[in-house]
Amino acid sequence: MSDAVLVSLSINDEVRPVAIPIDRTLLDVLREDLRLTGAKRACEAGACGACNVLIDGHTARSCLTLAADLEGCAVRTIEGLAQDGVPSVVQQAFLDAGAIQCGFCMPGMIMSATELLADNPSPTIAEIRTGISGNLCRCSGYVKVIEAIALAARRLAPSRPMAAAS
């Protein structure tokens, strides 16, 4: 058993002290210790993005992130996107565009889309494709995922003209 360190872990705006073995991944801490099972284990090698969370607003592979390093960082998981039970604009757009099939990759995909739109409110189709290129989906063929993100962009910035398609 590795040495544990006490970390004040900020997850979805809630700060809690957690004793974390130094080699324990954020994915394990979320899923096993905190029972936040939205982030998915699909490759555990950083290749698929199903475990993506936001750390200080940037997507990170929670399967490759050591939780003991996260003192002072703000972690947001898929469970922390809805406000007062209302899905975020991005989540709602995924529903409305019919982008969700089996849903296993979707928590990670939605986190990547959330970061993308925070950084670039009016992405082109090409920028959306690049923005989600680290998230593998085996069901959708990505078309409706791209449509969902474009829809979310329009809703988030209705006055801004949507950049032309690729």
Binding site: R31, R35, L36, T37, G38, A39, K40, R41, A42, C43, E44, A45, A47, C48, A50, T77, I78, E79, L81, A82, P87, Q91, F94, L95, D96, G98, I100, Q101, C102, G103, F104, C105, M106, P107, I110, I125, I128, R129, T130, I132, S133, G134, N135, L136, C137, R138, C139, S140, G141, Y142, V143, K144, V145, I146, A165, S166
Partner: protein, 782 residues
């Protein structure tokens, strides 16, 4: 007769979000690995390091001595209890012999995953290595080592007496007419070999199961499965527990694509739970999943096609060799299904198909979206283009001249009732501007070449048995129970839409029940593009039965003849030609509380497709039954590709995919199937290939085995939903799960050929493409 009208059918043709979409978008959806139970242990597998070896003994002492380990179980302890759908040749854990690298030989239950894995590494198994065979050629050579010495005694649901070669597990033949006579009449004959690689399913959720035992010894298994009933049967057969003491249920499933049709880790989880008396969860890592589960059959196909000068296709000979791996799984059915489509959707007068499935010391091959047809259609449709070139005809005109029409008969003798094939062709030809653009070089950037390709797809949706139960609740809503598992394709939603339409209700008035062998009526599985079509028929029958019972009660309440009762939208029945109505709620109350009410209103439907084959039309031998094949579904696809002349990389510029779905119950979901299927097929066509070296899978990771990401496929995948209603379905609907994938291989290969290079082996990786451009190689390993 189902009472229906456009008004009561408002739920059909409605693009609505999946019932469980919000749950999935919010992270709340529970997949098997998200579930825990009090006192739950974690399981880990011990995998064979040998491709073929005799098991001489086990030393479990070091593993059992590790603190936190609760049990170790071996194949010897479980014994020779065989399971399998088509051939019962497989045990939950290897007994006496291992037959591929990665085969589970033992399993551990411990307090956490790390301890279980550490203990698994401490299990010592003594082996005597045996000579192994890794290719079909090695496996069928005279004197080759035999994988299954007891093959003759295995239970099978097909005729294996025709097998003659070492390690041959299926040898089938289909004969229509006389190919020798046919080829003699031809002006042009083309004969080529086509090959395809092993594709891995890469469902995003690796296989997982959680098992728990109650005080009476009844095992409940939650698992990522395509069929709760197949899971129950597999646990029953492999562990020898009566079905009455096995309950199989399913949380959300993170994709299946065929790979979760048969047993995964459920028998092991159940065995460990029984041994420890505690709940046990077994979750495979991605690497373990790729090494131990299943793949699409690698295939080698020799295809010969003959035509007259005027473009009439006359004769087709097709010889298929499918590498089944170490266990049969669905191999005979997959091979036979491929053979069924060896002629493609064309009016050949003479067809001879010969198929072989062979055991080798590699991962088992099994069901995978398309079920043998992606291989067959790649070969068949590539060759149609090749013969068009020989004839100097446009590949579109050659196809149009020869396609099957309603009333024509398929191999086996089944008559085509309807066909949306021509409508599909029209859609993609118009949208891609084929007639203007095909035939002369397409404009392309410097250093690139472009090509435009066409393919047709033929498939069937159906097979096997299924049922549904609809119950009227006291408030006039209904509960639908079908036993059909939604893998993510949206069947819960589509079945609810059909149930709603069958009773003139809204989808919110339907309570969809999660499949559970304790409570749900039988459904064979979510396979073969069959749920919308087959389960939909059962739902239609069940709603019809409910209608009939309700009409009786309504007639009593409304004091009119039963024949005058009509179904109205919004949960009402009325007297035809009047404005007198009664609500479902009143009908329910009458049934439940009044002496003349007849008791609770429950309707059920049981379906088995039965289409007698005609032995005078086609001779079949060594095959599984095709009497229950189902309804034909057709499609057409066009793709434009761009080849990088320096790197050999092939990009899909745009794709047009039209598929006849009979009637789209949920058009948005149909588009999702078309787009997703095409992209999974694009991976099969261009990048996905499981590679073995000396029996060892050398690329078991998502970094080394490349499925398409968003940058690998175009956004411009145009889907066209063609609707030619099917007369055998209550709403005219048919399946669409598999055909979009089936077309992707040949349409991409044909587009590449249009750019100048015919490649006859999938996947067309940059390396193969470069070799084709530099050396004129066709990619086939000879």
């Amino acid at each position: 007769m189902l009472m229906k009208s456009p008004k009561t059918e408002a739920a059909i043709g409605l693009t609505m979000s999946r019932l469980e979409a919000l749950e999935k978008a919010s992270g709340a959806a529970a997949f098997t690995e998200d579930m825990t139970l009090p006192g739950m242990l974690h399981g880990a597998l011990v995998l064979s390091p040998h491709a073929h070896a005799r098991i001489l003994g086990y030393d479990l002492s070091r593993a059992l001595a590790l603190p936190g380990v609760k049990a170790v179980i071996t194949g010897a302890e479980i014994g020779r209890r065989y399971m399998g759908l088509v051939v019962k040749d497989e045990t939950a854990l290897a007994v006496d012999k291992v037959r591929y690298i990665g085969e589970p030989v033992a399993a551990v239950a411990a307090i956490d995953v790390a301890t279980a894995r550490a203990a698994a590494a401490l299990v010592e198994v003594e082996y005597e290595p045996l000579p192994a065979v890794f290719t079909i050629e090695e496996a069928i050579a005279e004197g080759a080592p035999i994988l299954h010495e007891d093959f003759a005694s295995y239970f099978k649901i097909y005729d294996a007496s025709t097998c003659r070669l070492p390690n041959e597990l299926t040898r089938s033949e289909i004969i229509l007419g006389d190919v020798a006579k046919g080829f003699a009449e031809c002006d042009v004959v083309v004969e080529r070999v086509y090959e395809t690689a092993a594709q891995n399913h890469i469902y995003m959720e690796p296989c997982a199961a959680l098992a728990a035992v109650d005080g009476r010894g009844k095992v409940t298994v939650w698992s990522s499965t395509q069929s709760v009933f197949r899971t129950q049967a597999n646990v029953h057969e492999s562990l020898g527990i009566p079905m009455a003491r096995i309950r199989s249920v399913v949380p959300r499933v993170g994709g299946g694509f065929g790979g979760k049709s048969e047993a995964t880790v459920q028998p092991v989880a159940a065995a460990l739970a029984l041994k420890t008396g505690r709940p046990v969860r077994v979750v495979l890592s991605r690497e373990e999943d790729m090494i131990t589960m299943r793949a699409r059959h690698p295939a080698r196909m020799r295809v010969k096609t003959g035509a007259r000068r005027d473009g009439t296709l006359v004769a087709r000979e097709f010889e298929a060799w499918f590498d089944g791996g170490a266990y049969a799984d669905d191999s005979p059915a997959v091979l036979n299904f491929a053979m069924f489509f060896a002629g493609g959707p064309y009016r050949f007068e003479h067809v001879r198909v010969e198929g072989h499935a062979i055991y080798t010391n590699k991962l088992r091959a099994g069901a995978f979206r398309g079920f043998g047809n992606p291989q067959a259609t790649f070969a068949s449709e590539s060759q149609i283009d090749e013969i068009a070139r020989e004839l100097g005809m446009d590949p579109l005109e050659l196809r149009l001249k020869n396609i099957v029409k309603p009333g024509d008969r398929w191999l086996g003798g089944q008559t085509l009732a309807t066909s949306g094939l021509e409508a599909c062709i029209d859609k993609v030809i118009d949208a891609s501007r084929w007639r203007e653009r095909h035939g002369s070089p397409l404009p392309a950037p410097a250093g690139k070449r472009r090509g435009l390709g066409l393919t047709l797809t033929a498939h069937v949706c159906g097979f096997l048995s299924t049922s549904a139960i609809v119950r009227l609740a006291e408030d006039g809503s209904v509960t639908l129970n079908t036993g059909a598992v939604d893998l993510g394709q949206g069947s819960d939603t589509v079945l609810s839409q059909m149930c709603a339409a069958g009773l003139g209700l809204g989808v919110d008035d339907v309570n969809f029940v999660a499949p559970d062998t304790d409570a749900s009526p039988y459904n064979s599985g979510t396979n073969c593009s069959r749920v919308t079509y087959m389960v939909g028929r059962a739902v239609g029958e069940a709603t019809q039965a409910v209608q009939a019972k309700m009409a009786k009660i309504a007639a009593r309440i409304l004091e009119c003849p039963e024949d005058d009762v009509e179904l109205l939208p919004g949960g009402l029945m009325g007297v035809a030609g009047s404005n007198r109505t009664v609500s479902f709620k009143e009908i329910a109350a009458r049934s439940l509380w009044f002496a003349d009410g007849g008791g609770p209103v429950i309707g059920s439907g049981s379906i088995m497709h039965n289409e007698p084959l005609d032995p005078k039309h086609t001779l079949l031998s060594g095959m599984v039954s095709f009497h229950n094949v189902g309804a034909f579904i057709f499609g057409a696809q066009v793709a434009e590709v761009e080849i990088d002349e320096v790197t050999g990389k092939v990009d899909i510029v745009e794709a047009w995919c039209a598929h006849d779905v009979g009637r789209a119950v949920n058009p948005g979901a149909v588009e999702g199937q078309i787009q997703g299927g095409f992209v999974q097929g694009a991976g099969y066509a261009l990048s996905e290939e499981m590679l073995w070296k000396g029996g060892r899978l050398i690329n078991p990771s998502l970094s080394d085995y490349k499925i398409p990401c968003a940058l690998d496929v175009p956004y411009e995948i145009r889907s066209f939903v063609v609707e030619v209603p099917d007369p055998t379905h209550p709403f005219g609907a048919k399946g669409v799960g598999e055909p979009p994938l089936i077309g992707a291989g040949p349409v991409i290969a044909n587009a590449i050929a249009d750019a100048g290079f015919r490649v006859r082996r999938l996947p067309i990786t940059p390396e193969r493409m470069l070799r084709a451009m530099l050396n004129g190689e066709d990619g086939v390993d000879v």
